[in-house]
Symmetry: D2
Subunit: 350 residues, 4 copies
């Protein structure tokens, strides 16, 4: 095995990134070295690339980003017992401390001391990535590699959809980035009876239709709230999955949720949100949940089971496939708003 590898590197505290030769990372006794087959790009990677305020506060260059991927086990430490060379794997990139209250009471996904591989430590936009054994997720070879590389955002969608009752419910998804689009497929697979997708970007609306949303609405051109209310007989929807983080979409979420309904918030906000608590929450008796990451590892079992059963067709969301060497081009493509999920291949698109 070569001692060097190609990787996307954020070399310094400034916009941009470069693809260059670096050392293959060392791994510890309980770690697994994975040869990356393909990785996918998240909005977070664009934040890091653009070096926005969030990135400036969180990221310590040099860093190899990338937290969505699949690959094969290449080597592992001497205390690792659950994998063998060649195993097809993905990984949960939130490395939890295992010792805080949240970790010890089943809420590992909101660990007080979490470190994210690809954000706080070198990630998967590289030929190799190191993952603690605890975080490795072994995959059935029946699962298509393209799906295996997007389990992280698919997991966000599964976690959000299944954070409350969903069977036989009406659902609105506000914001159709990749996670919102995945959520359409997941919600329908687990028994949501009507899915409204609300999104201003026309490329995303087109994919939302391909994901079989029952109603796809453009809030920039039509009164999405009024339409949802009309189609639900004036009741509003049982569940809103808020995936945009924009003040307008959050306003819509509270307007269209029915009395006693649920709003699950995943979309991160960059501005303060103003609500009328009495009218928006208390009189309606609703429940509002903050959703973060994926349940470790309940969500992983759930999404694997759904994928193995063939219940999810996610292909429309994967719009672009590029060699990793064209990372900057991928960033540009993402900025156009035309791409949804972009796959990058460390060893070329195959």
């Amino acid at each position: 095995m070569s001692k060097t590898m190609l990787a996307v590197v954020k070399p310094e505290a400034a916009p941009g990134a470069e693809v260059r030769e670096v050392q293959v990372p060392a791994f510890g006794r309980r770690d697994v070295l994975v040869k990356v087959k393909m990785a996918s790009i998240c909005g977070t990677d664009l934040h890091i690339y653009n070096w926005d305020r969030w990135a400036q506060n969180r990221i310590h260059p040099p860093l190899i980003p990338g937290h969505e991927f699949c690959g094969e086990v290449s080597a592992f430490g001497d205390e690792v017992t659950s994998v063998k060379e060649g195993d097809f794997v993905s990984a949960e990139m939130h490395v939890a401390c295992g010792k805080c209250l949240q970790c010890r009471t089943g809420d590992t996904h909101i660990c007080q001391n979490v470190k994210i591989i690809g954000v706080d430590a070198d990630g998967a936009f590289a030929e190799y990535v190191v993952i603690p054994e605890t975080n490795i997720w072994k995959l059935d070879p029946a699962i298509p590699p393209e799906y295996a590389s997007i389990l992280d955002p698919l997991g966000n969608a599964v976690h959000t959809v299944l954070a409350g009752e969903i069977a036989a419910k009406s659902v609105a998804i506000t914001g159709c980035g990749p996670i919102g689009l995945f959520a359409i497929a997941v919600a329908k697979a687990v028994g949501a009876t009507t899915v409204f997708a609300i999104e201003v970007n026309e490329h995303r609306r087109k994919i939302a239709r391909e994901m079989k949303a029952d109603w796809v609405l453009d809030p920039s051109k039509e009164d999405a709230s009024a339409i949802v209310m009309e189609k639900t007989g004036g009741l509003g929807v049982d569940v809103v999955l808020e995936m945009a983080g924009h003040p307008d979409s959050i306003r819509t979420a509270f307007d269209i949720v029915r009395r006693g309904g649920r709003i699950s918030l995943l979309g991160l906000t960059s501005k303060p949100i103003s609500l009328n608590f009495s009218e928006d929450i208390i009189f309606k008796g609703i429940t509002v949940q903050g959703i973060n990451g994926r349940r470790m590892y309940q969500t992983w079992y759930q999404m694997t089971a759904l994928l193995k059963a063939g219940k999810l067709d996610l292909h429309p969301v994967i719009t672009d496939r590029m060699p990793m060497t064209e990372f900057s081009k991928a960033m540009d493509r993402l900025k156009t708003g035309e791409a949804s999920k972009i796959l990058v291949y460390p060893n070329g698109v195959k």
Copy 2:
């Protein structure tokens, strides 16, 4: 409107029933008189017909049986406000007292003082049936009448499937009478990823396959428990829906449920069941639930939503359609084990 009508009558405390002319029933201020379009036959009706021990203890002839049906509102009392003549309706036939602890805390389906129309009062095997307004379920004309007439047993299936987590779970259904068969379709519609159907009767197994069970097993010829364990990687299934009430199928249920899993019991037993509580329940940390009727009216909303969304194909379960005048022939047909759900038409099959 004629003052008499045709009805199936259990005239006295003895086997059999007859179709004869009776008075159209009177109704009270808060009641609805429904013109029956079609009704369907339940195993309970066969117990009443055969006059078995259960029937001897429960039924007070003369009685018009029948508790699964749909029809049109024909007339109603002067305090009724929620229907109008011609409305397409079905009904929950468990008439709850509304005053006991269970009724007042959301468990109306296990009311201490419940009366069942078609068991404790005259039912739907007749041209007309009287239903309290509270129990009327108005139907969207989009729902096919054949489905509208089987909402009672479909509701049993929906109630059982949704009595715990089901999305992304493996499920075994022991016993494929009509409710078990419906449960296959419901479980798949709400995200169960693998459904095992276990049934000794070959006609029922054939329908189970048409309902798209992933595995259909004959415990009289193969080791169903061993096969389930093998197909689940030695774990067992997440959920068992026990719909047979037979000691063998109950034994299978406890053998194949995984640690931490759920067994929902719907199938009524006529014999004592013996268990090793330590091995069967405690060490495995499982949950066992008794399921009765349908949640009033959560289950009704759920099944209506699933039907309107086209998520359930139930046609394979409806095997026979007969004029109500041939009720005894329908009973004979049911005894052969070849029929599943039989529809009867008070005014002839149309």
Copy 3:
């Protein structure tokens, strides 16, 4: 029985109210006429008295206010079956329609068409009040009348406390009006291990101490959030019950709830509330609930059981007892901020 009675009447759309002779109200077939023994005053009654913006929009004078009371059954309609003359009763004053989705799925307390007796119809500040049989709550004579007259706000507290897990949890209550004060006692009775009471009014803080809150904090003089964080080892509390509706107390609620914790909102707000959804809700993975009224009738069973078991000492909250004729004086007393729960007696204090 006399045909007239004394009542507090809001005669017209203006501030104030008067005590005067009116007709004893007529009742229908399913109604119960209750002779009021004592009633208690809610903040809502002060809004009505003051004729503030909320009152101007909601109230249609003339109106007899009052929705917290106990009394004895005096007479009832001919379809009433569950009470007899002289029965000791209180009542749920939210009269639900029984026909909407929420009513039919166990969420009666957020009925779409609710009418509140004492707000939308004549209430209990009178010698007699009419209550539908469905809403009557029969009381064990073992329950002290003073407690029986405050079941409405006690029910708010019980509903809020029990809206999620509470046993062995740390709890902060922001705002110690009567409901917040009751919530201290309820939380401790059902296993909360540490209760923080946060309140600016010194009279209320004094009562909070008598209710046995573990820590009573004055946010106008000390850094309540910092103290809560320190006392919880930097974690924050498991549960916040927000009972003030003030922007500052809501800010505190989100600051002190731990990751994965619950905030139950009961206190009504009159101003928009601004939050940083990412930091305040999403990253922390918290659940925020709107709480309205009391569960019908689960909350009533719960509070009755707690009272009968002697688990709640509520006396410190009842600060004043007055004849109903001194209603305006009671309003003045409430405005001083020195009174907590005031009882009024239609027939004089006994």
Copy 4:
């Protein structure tokens, strides 16, 4: 530190045990060596001592039994980060694999590959015991050592009581061994309003009274079921905690649970149990749960919080204190049925 220590040893596959000098156990990189301060005796230890059928199948001598204890950290492996010498600790003795479905989805307490220290590996009836760091539970010095040594069975009680709703509920506990007795205190501390304790042994009934059970019944002399039904107004209790494992007490459990109630089964059975599923479970719509061990580590947080808040008085249950050298005498004492929880001290009673 000495290289040898005193320990209770089961030397061979036969009844009995002896106290003798053995090697202080070696520990690994992630292990903690604890100096035992006191330990307590469980019924399981008596099974091992008596060498009954269960013991013959499970135990591989030589073995040091003992799985309830507290002590001080004496030394630890080089990868241990969360303790320091002298820390006051107890431990969860179920060592879970961390890799099975149950472990990875929050049900560690029913791990498929669990090993129990004191059953499958050397335990705490010794001067020193080795515990993996993951299983160490650090204790606040405020917790009395006698309570710290009984956290294992107290945890069983807390797990059982809190396995479903309990606040404002009526509860029956069938079987008042130490766990049943603890359950009385726990149930009352978390808001159970009426607690029935049902037990044939008069010594245990006496303690049940000291634990403040509301009703203590002797089913060998009175009709316990009839009394429970009468005291609950004919309804039955909301919750039954079955802690005896005897066919009679299980029969009572199913007889007295109300419609829609919960039975949580903890008491292990040695004989098959026969039920009428239709009458006992299905028509009543009850939930039956198997309870095993303690939730890792939710139960530990819960019981620690309850103890720190002073909500549990457990002293009546601790009936005997003996030096470890008198282990056989302790066994004899247990057999009399007069002792409840016996503490043993490796270094003499202090």
